[in-house]
Structure formats: C-alpha cells, structure tokens
Amino acid sequence: MKTAAELLADIPGLAGVEPVTRVTIPARLDYTYTPGGAQSRFLTALTGQRLIGERCPECTRVYIPPRGVCPTCGRATTEQIDLPEVGTVTTFCIVNIAAKGLNIEVPYCYAYVLLDGAHVSLHARIGGVPHDQVHVGQRVRVVWNDRSRLQDKPSLAAISHFTPTGDPDADPETYRRWM
C-alpha cells in the first residue's frame, strides 16, 4: 500500500509542506438566557407546586409547558390554566444508560404524561413502581421535590417524578388524539 506522502507526491503545491494536524483555539462566549414570558410564568408557578398551562384562544388547546404561542394557529396563548397534578402515561421508554450529571439509578422509566385537561404531554420520569410495570394508559400523579432544597428558585427540578395513583387505567379515547 502506498503511503499518504506517496499518494500526494504529484501535487506540486504540497511539496515540502509539513501538514498542521492540530491547532488549539479556545473560544468562549457567555450568554444570559431568559425563557420569556410564558415559560417564566410556568417555571415560577412550579416553585409554588402549581402546574400552569396556557390555552389557545382559537383552537382552545392547552399547552404545557407553555411557549406563549399555539403552534397550530400561530396565536398568542394568553389564558393561563391551572392543571391538576394527575395525568395519563401516553408513551414511555426504559432508560438503561446513566445520563451524565443525573443522579438517578438505571434502569428507570421516562415517559410522556398527559395531564388531565392538557393537549400536549409533559416529559417526566416515572418512579415508585418497578419499571416493567409502567404502561400506556396508566394514571399517575406528580411527586414534588422538597421545596426547601430548591430554595424557591424557578426550575423544572421542582418536579421529582410521577408515580402511579393506583386508579384504573384511563379510557384510551381520553388520550388517543394527544399521543
């Protein structure tokens, strides 16, 4: 087999050129990120252990977390809705790889939870139940993290996970459209 140097020998421009194979150029830019009005309302409400969604004035769908805009209608969602702490698992997966910086033992269950009255699902971990017993249609309730540990800082970490309520499974008709 020919070496790289032999293969490139016919290119006069490369004659005698010692290739630079690595340069190290540190670059750092700092940003102050702000989540905007709707997400701020959502995150602030979490510190008070409330789940706030926002309703589209046109199609009346309720979004959580709210982004301030209905993606179907392109309209501002101006009405805030207090959503209950209970919902339904609409899909889930079993995570077998420990995430960096996440202090949760694997395997664990990661799911979509459609809160009652919402039309998009929240991402959430399902706990308090063996992962192989989690299933679609299961009714679950939010488990809040200890408020003192969060020091009332607005954060999604206010939610620890969701846990089964023990109620019978939801009628598929209640969540089929919003999976």
Binding site: I25, T32, G36, R67, G68, P71, A76
Partner: protein, 357 residues
C-alpha cells in the same frame, strides 16, 4: 419601465418591532409573534394561506443550536408547512423566498427575521464569523474591524471624522420620525466630535446601538399582490454578491460587491429617489453611497438606518421593508434597498423596488 408580469414579486406588507437594547422579558417567539400577526392582519391572510415561509436568524446570537426552531410556533407550523431558514440576515431569506415565487413554487411568502443581541456580547459574537485559524483567534471585534475600515477611508482622503459625525447626526435625526427606532435624535456634530474615541477613529456615534428586534414581510406574485395591496412594491431586481473572507485581502475603501449586485439588480437602469442602506457604521454609509453613485437628490435612510436601530439579522430585511413601505405610502416611486453581512461590508444584497405606474 416594464409592465409587471404574472410572476413578478412584490412586497405587500411590512412590520417591525420597536427595537430596544434588551427584550429579556420576551422569548424569541414572543418577540417575533407581534410582527407576524401584524403582516398577516395587513393582508388579511391566515398562516395556512402562506405558500412559503422563510426566516433569518443566528444561533450565535441566541447562544443555542437550532435556535430558529423556537420561532416556528409563531407561524403555525403544525400541520407541517413549506419552510426554510437562513443563518443570515432576513434580506437573504427574502431572496430565497423571491426565488421560490419567481419559479412558481408558491404565490405568497412570509419572510421574517429577528435578532436578540442582548443575551451575549454582540461585538464578540461577530468575531466567530471570521477565519477560524488565523483571524478569529485574535478576537478582532466588530467595532475594531469597522474602525480599520474607517481608517483606510480617512487615510485615502475620502472621508474625515467630521463627515462621519455628520452621517451619524443626519441618520439619528431622521429617525425622529421613526417610532420603531432606538436612537431618535442626535447632538450636534461639534459636540459629538468632542467625545472620546471608542476605537479610533470611531466614536460612540459612529457605531450602531445594540438592539433586540424583529421584522416581517409578506411577498406575493402578480395579481395576488394586487389583491393584497392597492400599491404593491414590486421587486424589479434583486442580487447579492460576496467578497473574500479575509478583510486583509480586500480594498476596504470600496464595495465592489455592492456595485456588482446593484448592476445586476438594475439599480442604474433608472434613477432611484430613495435608498435604504444597511450601514451599521458611519463610514460604511459613505462607502455605499459611492459604490451606488447616490447623489444628493436621493433620500438616504429616511428611517435612520442601522445607526438608529440595529437588530442584527433583521436590520437588512428592515431596509427592504422600509423602502417598500415608502412605496406603499406613495412617498417613493423607485427605491433601492441594501443589506450587508460579514465583516466590513463583505457581502451585499441590493433590491430595487418600484410602485406601479
């Protein structure tokens, strides 16, 4: 003057935010949504009636990857729409939309762009567009590069600091009538020249304000355009050209790419009465005026230009919008709009807009 053909494209609506130093209470989509709603309302169109949507913005301003997707909720992107994005000023998004319309792939287009400079330091952020091996590591910030350009102009005897100050005064006083502008009004040139340098030879007044803002435009073809506006601003020509990436390999006193784009856009085919130039720094306006042969009879930057409000990634689209709005209002017959990108006017776009006879 040519008669509009079936596939001629016109600007039929334009809206922009009130640009300000910081909009940290708003997310990107919350910043953009009001201007989207505004142009839709002006035309009576709904999001599902828009044939093509194209936006311009920059991840480096937002400080996160795929940041443009955050604004897609604002255009009602579910069910899926025909959409594209350029990591450039919205003027280039408008160019892409114009191509789509000219080639018959859509009859209406929504173009928008936005820039929130406030989360980071925009003068440092802009260094990331430079050559990564030999220039970016030196962190020559946007003002330093503009100062180099201004100094070459002064050294060539084509401008002096007084001429730069006069440009700043004229622009910001013109912006008094522009409710969207951020800097509206200016001290006298004598007072400005008594102030210290920011980066010699540039003083604060030679530099644009740091702005958050957004803009949106609706384009339509032929009869669709006539149905949406009684006086469409027809795009008679549009072209963009680019120069070498290394500022050191260019003659910074001129702007051949602007002139080339202008020739191809038909800017010299007939006199323009108005020019909206995207010149964030005072010296750049002087360079552009010369590249475009703009005499004193031409009204330049009646909006105040980028010196009065400079939402990066939107300031170029706003030039097209401002020029179109003057045609819509009957204040201009034939206007030139210019947008720039890159360091020291590296890349330039020219659009020529006309009202109907």
């Amino acid at each position: 003057m040519t008669t509009p053909t079936e596939r001629d494209v016109a600007v039929v609506a334009f809206a922009q935010t009130a640009h300000r130093r910081s909009t940290d209470q708003l997310s990107e989509v919350e910043l953009v949504l009001p201007v989207l709603q505004d142009v839709l309302k002006q035309t009576g169109l709904t999001t599902e009636q828009i044939g093509f949507t194209c936006s311009g913005s920059s991840d480096y301003l937002a400080g996160r990857a795929f940041s443009f997707t955050m604004t897609l909720d604002g255009v009602g992107a579910w069910p899926p729409i025909s959409e594209s994005h350029v990591e450039m000023d919205g003027a280039w998004a408008l160019y892409e939309a114009w191509v789509k319309l000219r080639t018959g792939q859509a009859d209406t287009a929504l173009v928008y762009s936005y820039g929130k400079s406030s989360p980071g330091s925009v003068r440092d952020v802009l260094t990331r567009q430079l050559d990564p091996y030999t220039l970016a590591p030196l962190w020559p910030d946007a003002i330093a590069l503009a100062a180099l350009q201004a100094q070459t102009l002064i050294d060539a005897g084509q401008a002096d600091e007084r001429a730069l100050a006069d440009t700043a005064v004229r622009s910001r006083r013109a912006a008094r009538d522009n409710p969207h502008a951020q800097l509206r009004g200016s001290a006298d040139a004598d007072d400005l020249l008594a102030l210290p340098y920011e980066v010699q030879p540039l003083r604060r007044h030679d530099c644009p304000p740091v702005s958050d803002g957004a803009a949106a435009v609706i384009l339509a073809v032929g009869d669709a355009a006539r149905a949406l506006h009684p006086r469409p601003a027809w795009i008679r020509g549009i072209d963009h050209r680019i120069e070498a990436h290394q500022p050191g390999s260019r003659d910074l006193t001129g702007s051949p790419s602007t002139r080339l784009a202008a020739v191809h856009a038909g800017a010299f085919d007939a006199r323009v009465d108005t020019a909206e130039l995207h010149a964030p720094f005072t010296a750049q306006e002087l360079i552009l005026r010369r590249a475009l042969d703009l005499g004193d009879a031409v009204v330049v930057n009646p909006s105040g230009g980028a010196l009065a409000a400079n939402p990066v990634m939107a300031a170029g689209l706003i030039r097209i919008g401002e020029a179109a709005a003057r045609i819509h209002r009957g204040e201009s017959r034939r206007a030139l709009a210019h947008a720039t990108s890159g360091p020291c006017l590296q890349q330039n776009l020219i659009a020529v807009l006309e009202g109907e006879k």
